[in-house]
């Protein structure tokens, strides 16, 4: 592994966890850009996935469980020169943080979201997550999961997302390429990453995924068609598509603010006394 974005710090992940591959893919994706670590901001919530920023040399904001998206949206708006990447889990992003996902997609800030989707709550020791398959047994769901899994890609397409893709931690090259595209895409980019959790998810293992995933690019699939994207997003079970599901240009959140046209907010001076003075006049 190259070193530009990486600390020597030991991770707190279990040996064999899919998170290692995701970290590796992210390294590769970042290495393929000409960014320096200080130009990258990683924003995360809480969970195993959310620990990823700890293992990099980048700026990071490791906030609250479920709340990475609003922090990331605002940070990007205040300093649009930063490359803002959210690393989050399926519980973090689709459970606790579900509402922010809906509205972040609507806003369409130019940020990239990597969801380490292990279909389980890892850090809290293995409860069902919103994406757990029906019937999966856990300590808490001893009779098996009975709530319909949330389909993040269908949801994103329904909300008219700018970029939605699925990656697989077991295919690092492909994942790195998807990540690269997601980071390069201007607008909100969601990448749901199939991530085996070797400690708690005994159903959706590396093997389970490997037998099912295929690369969309190799099928001549066109990610520009929303109806096709919706249909594709429903595919799950025997065959699971990976790659870019949907991609479109949409107005970007930061572009709506006149204030941002010149420089990042942080570089701006205080209000001129003259402007304030004029405003005070309006109260006389």
């Amino acid at each position: 592994m190259t070193e530009r974005f990486m600390t020597a710090r030991q991770t707190a992940w279990c040996p064999g966890c899919g998170n290692f591959s995701i970290l590796r893919a992210l390294q590769q994706a970042l290495e393929s850009t000409d960014l320096q670590p200080h130009q990258v901001l990683l924003v995360s919530g809480i969970g195993q996935a959310a620990k990823l920023p700890q293992y990099t040399n980048c700026n990071y904001f490791n906030g609250l469980h479920g709340r990475a998206l609003p922090a990331a949206t605002a940070a990007k708006a205040c300093n649009h020169e930063l490359t803002v990447i959210v690393t989050t889990g399926d519980g973090d992003c689709y459970g606790e943080g579900g509402n922010h996902l809906l509205h972040a997609i609507r806003r369409n800030p130019d940020i990239t979201v990597f969801v380490h989707d292990n279909q389980i709550y890892g850090l809290t020791k293995g409860q069902a997550s919103p994406t757990s398959d029906l019937g999966m047994r856990t300590k808490l769901q001893a009779g098996g999961v009975y709530n319909e899994p949330l389909n993040p890609l269908a949801l994103a397409v329904a909300l008219d997302v700018s970029f939605a893709a699925r990656g697989f931690a077991g295919d690092v090259e492909h994942l790195a390429e998807i990540m690269r595209q997601a980071i390069a895409h201007r607008g909100f980019s969601l990448v749901d990453i199939l991530q085996p959790c070797v400690s708690f998810n005994k159903v959706n293992t590396f093997d389970w995924y490997r037998r099912r995933v295929y690369r969309l690019e190799e099928t001549g699939y066109d990610p520009a068609d929303r109806m096709a994207a919706f249909q594709k997003s429903l595919e799950w079970g025997e065959r699971i598509p990976t790659g870019v599901i949907f991609r479109q240009e949409r107005p970007v959140f930061e572009d709506h603010f006149a204030a941002l046209r010149q420089a990042p907010l942080v570089a701006r001076q205080l209000p001129a006394a003259a402007e304030l003075d004029a405003l005070l006049d309006s109260f006389c």
Binding site: I46, F61, N62, G63, L265, V266, R268, P271, L280, C284
Partner: protein, 570 residues
């Protein structure tokens, strides 16, 4: 001179526009105005009022009696007639049914008819009413005509002015004007402004560049105002999907090095509690306004209370330092907001500005804000040459250099988990202990940075009446009345509430008893004071019916206490 005009009616009838016109009129003429509002939680209908006190000297609270009542609907007569002084006036539209208690105070004028005749639309009745009020107070109509032009633009302004002139003439003929003193000399034009506008202006003056909020009465006007100024002042203002998003946005913005804020009311503040702890743990300066309204839960959305003091001081799991500041006056709301941003960045802590519906929606005349008194202290650092940057470097005062993410050579690393100097997660006891001490060790210096209470009245008082925040106006008014009645009383009023220390008791008049006056049921400041100093209050004067204190309310309770030994929680 001290006159009170009360306009009452349904939501949607335009009392606010009448009230604002009158307020601005008198403000421009050099009078001191204090105006408060009482609205139901609905868009049309119900019973509302807008009440103005016009005086020759500053007044910070509503008076207890009304000199002129302007009921736009009949319910206003039923509800408020008893407040009108014997020599007062009740100005009604001729079209309104005669009221059984109609007496010499009543004056019926055909304002609606006049609006139709002169303007062709009922909506001009408000201009007519405003002009009639002014006529009955012996005021000229020309400044009103000017105001109407400014407010409604050339087209509608002209019609409004025409209606106003006619109504003014009619009213002057109908009845001799009340005697009104000429205004005191005014060296420079004053502002006519409400509390939440003052906070928002303060934020602009402080260089706030980011605001996110979710609508909630009575806090919404702050984001609305800032959003209107965003383009001119270079702000990003965003309505969030919920309050959790709002405060996390503000913290994310503050992380990048810009000044950022949010505003809400109690229910929304409840949802911000977890993130308040995030700001505490990550040492991120952020300013949150909690505009109080009566709780618990949804409570009385459009009314006032001081019920959230202990809540905001103790909000969030774990322990971390924070400031809680409650502006006492609308003027102070401006300067305090600037101070809030400075304190937040100096100590790298969250600051809560605690307003309420009464302060936020009351209008008053204030001396034009003095921008030369505004200093913006950013406390941002560049990275030290050589060594690696560590966001949470141990320093003698616990405050670590804060640099802006994006700075070459620095990784600015924030963590809501317990962390080491480098912002990375730790698990060991020693680092934990040291970080707790780093954060909470700021508190003594924070306490010292705060301002002592305002003290006024008798230095040898027998009773000290202690209040906080927006209660100040009524409290000062009550103390003045009591002193005039020969009572030996002193007023103390706190703006800077947390951290709280014994300075509030400094120069205590020997043997004086303590009466705490606050807009809640349980006596929260009284409890805090006992917690921090051991001094317990002898009596409480509380109000918890959703209405603001008035001087008369306090005077009456005070007299009951001193007469009967009174009971706490009267």
């Amino acid at each position: 001179m001290d006159l009170t005009i009360k306009i009452t009616g349904e939501a949607g009838q335009g009392l606010q526009s009448i009230g604002q016109l009158l307020g601005k009129y008198f403000a421009r003429r050099g009078y001191y105005v204090f105006a408060n509002q009482d609205n139901e939680s609905r868009i049309r209908g119900g019973h509302n009022f807008f009440q103005l006190r016009v005086a020759g000297a500053p007044a910070g609270a509503a008076a207890d009696a009304v000199d002129m009542l302007v009921p736009l609907d009949r319910a206003g007569v039923d509800l408020h007639l008893d407040e009108v002084t014997p020599g007062g006036v009740v100005l009604v539209d001729s079209a309104m049914d005669a009221h059984p208690r109609r007496d010499a105070r009543f004056l019926a004028l055909p304002l609606m008819q006049l609006a139709m005749e002169q303007g062709g639309n009922k909506i001009y009745a408000n201009a007519a009413a405003t002009a009639a009020v002014l006529a009955l107070l012996g005021q000229t109509v020309e400044p009103l005509e000017e105001l109407l032009q400014e407010t409604f633009g050339p087209e509608a302004g002209r019609i409004n002015a025409r209606v106003a002139a006619a109504a003014h003439a009619l009213a002057r003929q109908s009845r001799p004007a009340l005697s009104v003193d000429p205004p005191p000399p005014m060296p420079a034009p004053r502002l006519f402004i409400n509390g939440h506008e003052a906070v928002a202006l303060g934020a602009l003056a402080a260089g706030c560049k980011f605001m996110a909020a979710y609508p909630m009465s009575p806090s919404t006007p702050m984001i609305t105002f800032l959003s209107g100024q965003a383009e001119k002042f270079g702000l990003v203002v965003e309505q969030a999907e919920d309050e959790i998003a709002a405060v996390n946005m503000a913290i994310g913005a503050a992380y990048t090095g810009v000044r950022a804020m949010t505003a809400t009311s109690g229910g929304g503040f409840s949802l911000m509690v977890e993130a308040l702890g995030l700001a505490g743990m990550t040492e991120t300066p952020v300013v949150a306004v909690n505009a109080q309204r009566p709780g618990p839960a949804t409570g009385l959305p459009t009314r006032t209370e001081q019920g959230d003091l202990e809540f905001v001081i103790h909000a969030a799991q774990g322990e971390f330092p924070r400031f809680v500041l409650a502006p006492r006056t609308i003027e102070e709301a401006f300067y305090l907001t600037v101070r809030a941003f400075n304190l937040a960045e100096r100590f790298q802590v969250p600051v809560i500005i605690l307003t309420d519906q009464h302060l936020g929606e009351s209008y008053t005349t204030v001396e034009r804000f003095d921008l030369s008194r505004v200093t913006v202290e950013r406390h941002l650092s560049s990275i030290p040459a050589g060594g690696t940057y560590r966001r949470y470097r141990y320093t003698p005062d616990g405050i670590s250099p804060r640099v802006v993410p994006g700075t070459p050579g620095a990784a600015v690393t924030l963590d809501s988990d317990e962390h080491g100097e480098d912002g990375r997660i730790i698990e060991d006891a020693a680092t934990r202990r040291r970080m707790v001490e780093k954060r909470l060790g700021k508190q003594p210096a924070m306490t010292a940075a705060l301002q002592p209470p305002e003290i006024a009245g008798d230095p040898g008082a027998r009773w000290v009446l202690l209040g906080w925040g927006s209660t100040r106006g009524a409290l000062a008014g009550a103390c003045a009345i009591l002193q005039r009645r020969g009572e030996r009383v002193q007023m103390r009023c706190l703006c800077d509430l947390w951290p709280l220390d014994g300075r509030v008791l400094a120069d205590w008049p020997a043997g004086a008893g303590l009466i705490v006056v606050e807009g809640n049921y349980t006596g929260q400041l009284a409890r805090l004071l006992a917690a921090q100093t051991g001094r317990r209050a002898e009596h409480l004067i509380n109000r918890y019916d959703g209405r603001p204190f008035t001087p008369g309310y306090i005077v009456e309770r005070f007299e009951k206490i001193t007469r009967e030994g009174g009971a706490a929680n009267d």
